[in-house]
Each structure stands twice: as structure tokens, then as C-alpha cells.
Amino acid sequence: MGGADLIGKSVTRPDALDKVTGGRGYPVNVNLPGMLHGKLLRSPYAHARVRRIDTSEAQRLPGVKAILTARDVPQIPFCPVYFVPSDGETLIRDMLILGDHVRFAGQPVAAVAAISEAIAEAALALIDVDYEELPAVFDPEQAMADGAPQLHDGVARNIAKNPSFEFGDVEAGFAEADHIFEGVYQTQRVHTCYMEPRVCVIDCDRDGHFTVHSSMQHIFGLREKLAYALGIDESRVTVMKPPYIGGGFGGKLDMGYIEPLAALLSQKTRRPVRIEQTRYEDFICTTRNPIKMWLKTGVKADGTITARQAKSILDSGAHATHGAQVIMVHGLFGMTFPYRCPNKKWEGFTVYTNNIIGGGYRGYGAPQGCFAVESQIDEICEKLGLDPIEFRIRNALRKGDPHPFNPAWTLNSYGYEEALRRGAERIGWATRKPAGSSSGVRKRGIGVGTQGIWVSGCMGFPDIYEHTGAIVKLNRDGTADVATGTVDIGSGAITALSQIAAAELGIGVDKVRLVSASTDTVPFDAPTHASRVTYSSGLAIKAAAAEAKKRVFEIAAGLLEANPDDLEMIDAQVRVKGSPQSSLALTEVIRVAETPFIKDTLAGPRPSSPPQYKGTIMGSSSLAPPENPSPAAAMFAEVEVDTETGQVKVLRCVYAHDLGRLINPNGAEGQVEGGIQQGLGYALMENLVFDQDNGACLSADFLDYKMPTAVEMPRVIESIFVETNEPSGPFGAKSLSEQCVTVPAAAIAAAVYNAIGVRITELPITPERVLRALGKL
């Protein structure tokens, strides 16, 4: 097989064999000669000022090579978020590598490099820090109140960002409504729980050039942020792309404390420095921000939405980091875009507290909004006796509508209704019983949650990078090397990208190799995030492959005495369209291009082929995608609720998704199933909880932070892929990854309501909350 018929076929991951036999390619395995080990000393206080740090005793411990405190590091305020330029207007630069103002329990105040981890850790215990404890605030609403402790200079009421949108006239819209619904919804702080800890190994050479190995999702972002925080030129940093990393899900989308500290420790010691976070350290960074949402919707008796007004308060923790971006995506894609409604108003607050910092978890503000919006729709339908499927379809956007994000774009492919209808049929929606009507202790229910508008990248977002590039190079053996900065975080990106390259080139997918790369060798690439890889990186790889193919045709046309435009490449054969007998093996074309062109003949040395055929056949690209087409998702859940204990068991999920075109079915199903694990955890159990007195995280290991094991997962997860063939996408593809995480909580919450007739508006839906809602506590 080779060519466009590769699209839609399940192919084996190129890295699977390596991973089942040990998997050497993870950044945790990087081990350089002479490497030192770094550890960070973290503050036990949530809000404090460091008066003095005495490192003298630690310094004397044999094996300790360097110690850094605030005095020793550049004091350049930075924002660690990768996908926004370091000096971008929307970024809030409020972090320091090390400073004397501690704003969350666990913030580093010093770093040590030593010849072993054990010694580095022992050294931490010898550092004496004199803290002045300050009053702390952990609740964002309290933080906004007068008299609350101020976390950052010049930030009134701790409000880091306060965006708002208004479309139409909400007052008029509410006046038009027959019914008005109001609700308050609260979500919790959760962690992405990538399995490979965040780790880096950084080597500063004698010239002051830094070579960085890291488990991050974006090599160019890390180069940029690291250079910015250190106050050096980007060209002094080379970030190596790891063969693969052990998960990310957005949790590795920003520079941590470890990278700049490892860099500085390496600079000081002239040796490579490795810092690996412990699981506790992972848990206290890059979490999904909790958001509290107030939502008011006006509807006519027939179910038409006339107005929606909403307010969201996002607990950003000690620093803004992603909080300043998440709030925007949340406001637009979570609260405002879904459903056509001419009159909408939303206001958001990103608020500083002394909680741990947030991050860029899969869905990026949408899961919180989806839970609120979809829960309220379920309530509206229940109260008005409307069918939740028909209600949604009535108010949904349709193919041909302008894209709500950018009216210059049209929803050229849009399968929301089809996803919803096919999912409803598969789950047996017609057999759904009235809420709370099933008898017995264990009650069953079915619910739905949808997300109508989402992204295939970040095109159109203010300040967010989206251009991306690739280099495709053909080898003499007929294989293609594809180099991109796209980091494979496990989602199968490299599989789909290999398929796209192979399909465009007309060769087998086994002939494509995604090769090693670094920021030195490939064009800039926006991160592996925002459901963007298949669409956006796919387009870049397709373009680079097309350029290489064009060169193949130029040479082959001469050899075949044909017009390049009349050629096609199928199964690694260049053929004249319509006359397949006139063909040439791709390897032959490459041979002609690559071999020296002088040949010994009887008449003496003679050129074998014209010089203009010579040179490696390659193509490159660096481009921004033209649009940001919207996928659409609908999830159906069937649950069983134990009304004596409050436990919720998810029995079955049906997930339907418009992804434009299915590239790799097995990989797509894997995304859905994994997404549902995260969504189910969000819905029912995951929660980072903190001591309300001192801000210490109480659930910073997997014994206390509960995520679903194989036992809690539904036995049946059915994926339905709706193919609407997006005209702007590579082979018609859009995106998949994030919506599978966004919709489950809403679907499960609605199913719980359908089972017991009581609505839970706060996540996670713990047994205790269910029992309380049932009035049994």
C-alpha cells in the first residue's frame, strides 16, 4: 500500500516495538558523563518572605558542587507558557526563577547540584531559611475582597486578568425569553498525571551554549522561555527533541523551575545537571485551574435560546502562567460559542491566590465550561419537558454558518448533528427513562454532554503561535526522513504524521521515518497541544512532502520524457497518468539525483545525467494553517448510582466525534478511550486537595489522588467517527484529542441526574456529594 489509500487504515505505531521492549528513548533515561544531580528546596509556607538563607553548612557537605538562591539567579520576571511569545502582550510575566517572595507552599527557594541525588537531598536539609510568614488567601472570591492579602504588586484585588465579551443585547434577549434559568457550577483542581515525571538534563559548554534534554511538549517554546528567563540570546540554547515522552496532556506545556535552575547549575559547575521531579513535585505544578461559573440562560417555550449571561472566576494560584490564556479559551469556547444565540455576555476573572499554579491541561478551560453549560441545558430540558437531543440540535450551529470565532471563516464541514444523532441511536436514547424513575437501591440513568465548537490548532488566537514546519528528505533506499519539531507525547502524532507523509509521497508508511531533530535543525514548530497536530502539523508535513514529490516529478519527467504535471506516484512508482506501462521506480529517480554524474564509458568519462537532476531530493515547509476548522463531539454515558452509598459506576460510554477524516482508526479510538479515562476521573474522583490552613497539598501522590484504574473504567466504550471531510485539512482531517476529555463530566453528571433525579453542580461527583444531594446526610 502507498498513497492516499493509507488514510483511514490502522497502522502500527513506529515506536511500539521499542516501547514494549523497554523504551530507551524517554528523557528520564538521558545520562551524560559527569552528570550532576539537582534538587530544589521548597517553601513549607504558602505565603512568606525569605529574610535570609544560610547555605554555608550545605556548601561544606562533600559532593555538593553548587547552590543557588535568589541572589545567584537573574531576576527577570517571565511567564513560562510556551505557545505565546515571551514578550507577548497577553502574557503576564510574574514569575522569577528564584525570588524572596513565596506565594505557594512548595515554591522553590534554593537549588543544589551534587554528585548524587542522595547528597543533593541531604544538602537541602542543611540549608537554613529564615521565613517571615505572611497571611495567605486560598479562596479566589476572598482574594478579590477588600483587605485580602495582596500577592503581586500593583494587582488590585488580586485580579490578574478580567476579560469580557458581549454580543447582541442580553437584556433584550432575557426580555424575550419565556423562562430564565440560573445556576452556579464549581469545578476542582486536577492534574494531568502524565506518567513520566518532568525531567531535564542541561549541559552548558565552555562557550556558554546550553544543550537541553527535557520531557517537555515543545522544544521551541522551551528554547525561547529559557533564553528569556536567563536573559540570553535564543541562539545560545539548543533543545533536543526526545524520541518520545511519557505523556503530557498539557502538563508539560510550560517551563518549570527545574529547567532554568539546571541550566544555571550547569553554567556554574561546567557539568551537565539533571533534575527529575518527584511525583509530589509533579502534582504541585501545572494543574487544571478550578473555575466557578455563574450561568443564566433565557429560553423560549419552544426551546430556542434567547440570551446567555455568564461569569467565571478562575483560581490561578500563585502565578498567572496559563491562567491568563485559559480564561479566554474558557470564556469563548466553553461559555460563549456553543449554540447559536444572538445575545451573550460573559465576564471572566483570573485571580491570584496562595494555591499552587495552574497549567495547560487538555481542554484548556473548556471542560469547566462544558460542565456548566451542558448541565444547565439538561436542567432546562428537564424543566421544560424538551428532549435534550432535539433541544441541542435546534440551537446548534450548522454547516455553512460563519465560524463564531472568526466570521471570515465558514463552518465548511460540521458534523455536530450527525454525531449527536448517531450517538443517541447507539446508546438507545429512545429507551431513556424519566429522571429518578428506576426503582431499587441501584438506579440507572443515561446522559449526554456535547461540545459544538472547538479547535484544530490555535489559528486565530491572539498572541498564540501556530506556524509549523517540516523537512522531508528522500534516501537512496526509497525511504523518507521526516524531520519536525513536533514532540510525540504519546497521542500517536507520529503515526498519523507518517501516514500523511506516506500518503502524499505515494510510498508505504513503513518507508517513512520521523527522525531526530532539535531546535537547531528544523523549522519552528508550535507545540504539541490544542488538538493541533494532525491538522496543523499534518498540513506542514503534507506541504513538505509535496515539495519533495514535485522534485521527483521534475527529474522523472526528464527521464520518462513526459510532462511533470502528467505524473503520479503510487506504490513508490512514478507513472505517467493513464499509461502505467510508462513508469520508473522512485529509487531509480533518487539514484539519478544522488549518484555522481560522471560515468566512465568507452568514449571516456561522460555525464550520466544532466547536472540539473543532481542533489538530494527534499522538500521543506514552514507555514500557518489557513483556518481553524471546528470538530464536534457528543458523549453519552450510562451510569448506575448506588443510592445507599452514593457511588457512581459508569457502565457504558458512546462517544461520537466529527474529526473530518479518520486517518488512523486504532489511534483515534485510543485517544477517545484515554480521554474518557481522564474525563471520568474529572467527573467522579480526581481532586487535588489542600490544607485550608497552610496550603499544603494533601493529595500529592497516587494513593491520595485518585484516578480511574482498569476496574473503574466502563467495560464498553464505543467510538463513532463522523467524517465530514474538511476542505482545508490534510486529506480532509480536523482534530480529535481534547474533546474526549471535555465532554465526559457533563455527560456523566446528566446521567447521574437521570438516574436519581437530583443534580450535582460541583465536581467531582463524589459518593458523599451524591448522598448529600439525595438528602441522606
Binding site: A16, K19, G23, C193, M195, G246, D701, F702, V711
Partner: protein, 153 residues
């Protein structure tokens, strides 16, 4: 401070000097360079470090190396036979049970123990057998499929 530890790892005898608090995980990764055994939490709750000690799966991060002195340890590198993969490794590839792959080696070690004692497990037995192994990518569906596939073949 250091003590002598004798371990037979994947059939090969090793004599090492280790510190009193060294875990089996540290010895395997840091001393023997067996990177297939992963550290996901170091607090015995994720399963990435699952290996077999005398045929039984354990969390290598929660075992003091010296307490298993003299034992036979099998890691992912010890599965299969030369170039021939263990049927589980093969099934994990074919079923698409590998995404980021960080959990994979531990998962396969747990599944191997299950199949050794229960060659034809049902779905519930499979799910309980891997309950001590977390995966954040796959939702476990294809992992369960792979184990069924390996058991069926």
C-alpha cells in the same frame, strides 16, 4: 555503609555493592542500566516499576534491594526469547495498547504474572490483575484487549 547484594537478573548473576536504603528500582536502573523498568511515582502506587521477583510481580520502588538478596529478578528486558517477543509484547503492539508507553513495561509484567497463573483469564480477572498499574493514555481498553489477545493465541 555499602553491602554486597547478589541478584540474578534476567538469568545473569550480578554481585553489587549497594547502600542500605537502595530500592530494587534504583539498583535496576542506576546500577544495571535496565531502563525498561520505569519510575512513575517512587511511592508504590503507579505500577510503572513492576518487575518479577522469583516469579511474582512487585513494585520495585517499594522493595529494599537487600531484602531480596539472592533472588531472581525478571524485568521487561528478560521477556521473550532473543529476537522473539513475548506474546504479550507482540499483542500490545498489535492491539494498539501502547501510546506514550511509559506504563507499558510495568503493565506487561503484571499481565505476564496473570497469564502464568491463569492462562485464560476473563475480563474481570484481567482488569483486577492490572489494577495496580495506572495508565493515563489508553483508558485501558486496548490494554485489556491485548492481554485477551495474548491469552487467546
Amino acid at each position: 555503609m555499602k553491602k554486597t547484594l547478589v541478584l540474578t537478573v534476567n538469568g545473569e548473576r550480578h554481585e553489587l555493592q549497594v547502600s542500605a536504603d537502595a530500592t530494587l528500582l534504583r539498583v535496576l536502573r542506576d546500577e544495571l542500566g535496565l531502563y525498561g523498568t520505569k519510575r512513575g511515582c517512587d511511592t508504590s502506587a503507579c505500577g510503572c516499576c513492576t518487575v518479577h521477583v522469583d516469579g511474582n510481580s512487585v513494585y520495585a520502588c517499594a522493595v529494599y534491594a537487600l531484602s531480596v538478596d539472592g533472588s531472581a529478578v525478571t524485568t521487561i528486558e528478560g521477556l521473550g526469547n532473543g529476537d522473539r517477543l513475548d506474546p504479550l509484547q507482540d499483542a500490545f503492539i498489535r492491539a494498539g495498547a501502547v501510546q506514550c508507553g511509559y506504563c507499558t513495561c510495568g503493565m506487561i509484567m503484571s499481565a505476564r504474572e496473570l497469564l502464568a497463573g491463569t492462562p485464560k483469564p476473563d475480563e474481570e480477572q484481567i482488569r483486577h490483575a492490572i489494577a495496580g498499574n495506572l495508565c493515563r493514555c489508553t483508558g485501558y481498553t486496548k490494554i485489556v484487549d491485548a492481554i485477551k489477545m495474548a491469552a487467546g493465541s
